[in-house]
Point group: C2
Chain length 234, copies 2
DNA sequence: AGATGTGAACCAATTCACAGCA
DNA sequence: TGCTGTGAATTGGTTCACATCT
């Protein structure tokens, strides 16, 4: 590959691990800005974000050179640059499928509005929920729950490109297929199921049970006496 | 380091990336077993889990040699081995703090019971919720919501070692400190806040807004024409 | 002086490709 | 023959340490 040439650290290819941390920096910086902090050093921002300063600087270096040597980073300028890189300056239209407790929690999660995400549609399979108005976003706006049969219309009318699946596992693949067919190209999946999608559609999975199991694994290792002494042949 | 010697791939040090995938294999295998599948090849299990077969085999090799060459893996035996490695054979006692929609969703999430997790306590700061009985686990059992002031008692009485934080960001660090002081050594944090904990306490973070932002980043890259053509000096 | 930005060294994870066993 | 298990090669990510710039 040609490697293009020279300087340009920004264009093309920010490491995935870095992308996963940018939202944290963005949130921490927003908090600092609201507290009136105009400038931060990599040391300070790193500590507040729970990473090392070397990692933070390397991460930011992938976006460009936005710091000042001997001084640090301008809080608001850095917020803007990260937001731009993440695409937070656009507004992303999101449809949530499955309005149980989890879908409900997602719908009125405060962190979406103000970060470029707008919930434009809610869909549920339970007929008794249809028509229910759910507060979405920070202010008093509400979104009405519509029938699962209308899923395609909800996506098209709302011009949504992101779908959130908060249904039981059994329904997830079908919902996924329909979301994709209606034009959704990014999916956040909370159902404990492995989804298959065509090329070009991104899926991220959040699995509550998995997270607990990972914790349990480490927890177990902290208490060696509990090892149900297995195998190893005596 | 001495490397102990020979064979023993299992004891000490399963890679973190492998640990994160074991719960998926476990769930997929459970599904296969319920469908009457007695044997799987790495190819089949990998496809069903959304990974490559080489990765799957490498992952499983860290637990030991539980497959049969030319044949594959015995479904139930592999389920058991993964469960044992993850500590799913013990019962983990979990306290959930913050019983909003999210906490509610977590409390009656079906995937916990039957995987070794038992919700032994629910705590909320809202006085109007105290005393409410929430169904937890697969059967009809309920757990009563108790006051935030009782947090320490709930942890101690329930002998919980795992805490789940589903409070607003502002309350998270305080709740975390109190959980740790009461003896919790593993924490699953849903609040959008960076927690600091003493050595020896594990924290995993699940951040809904972060996940969406990562999706948005990739979504943005799919539509280059939308780039708000910035900088690069003309 | 005091911080950033970054090459170089290091470590972890993935992929390749095949030896070895049922 | 067919599939597992694993060294070797590769890729990706983190840490170190310092040259560089304000």
């Amino acid at each position: 590959m040609p490697l293009s040439r020279a300087s340009d650290a920004s264009r093309r290819g920010i490491p995935e691990a870095t992308v996963a941390r940018l939202p944290i920096y963005h949130r921490v910086l927003t908090g600092l800005s609201e507290s009136g902090v105009a400038t931060v050093s990599s040391e300070e921002l790193a500590a507040a974000s729970g990473v090392t300063s070397a990692k933070l600087r390397k991460d930011l270096s992938h976006l460009g050179s936005y710091g000042t040597r001997g001084v640090g980073y301008d809080t608001d300028y850095l917020i803007y640059q990260i937001a731009r890189e993440l695409g937070l300056t656009q507004d992303w239209r999101v449809v949530i499928v499955g309005i149980g407790n989890l879908g409900h929690a997602l719908a009125n999660y405060g962190g979406f509005a103000g970060r470029g995400f707008r919930v434009v549609g809610l869909v549920d399979a339970d007929p008794s929920r249809i028509g229910e108005k759910i507060p979405a976003g920070r202010d008093g706006e509400t979104v009405e729950v519509r029938a699962i049969a209308d899923l395609e219309d909800v996506v098209l009318d709302g011009e949504a490109s992101i779908g959130v699946i908060a249904t039981p596992a059994g329904a997830a693949q079908d919902v996924c297929d329909r979301l994709v067919a209606a034009g959704v190209t990014s999916i956040l999946n909370f159902a404990p199921a492995v989804l298959s999608t065509p090329e070009g559609v991104d899926v991220r999975k959040v699995d509550l049970a998995t997270e607990l199991q990972i914790l349990a694994f480490h927890e177990q290792r902290k208490h060696p006496e509990m090892h149900r002494s297995e195998g190893v042949r005596s």
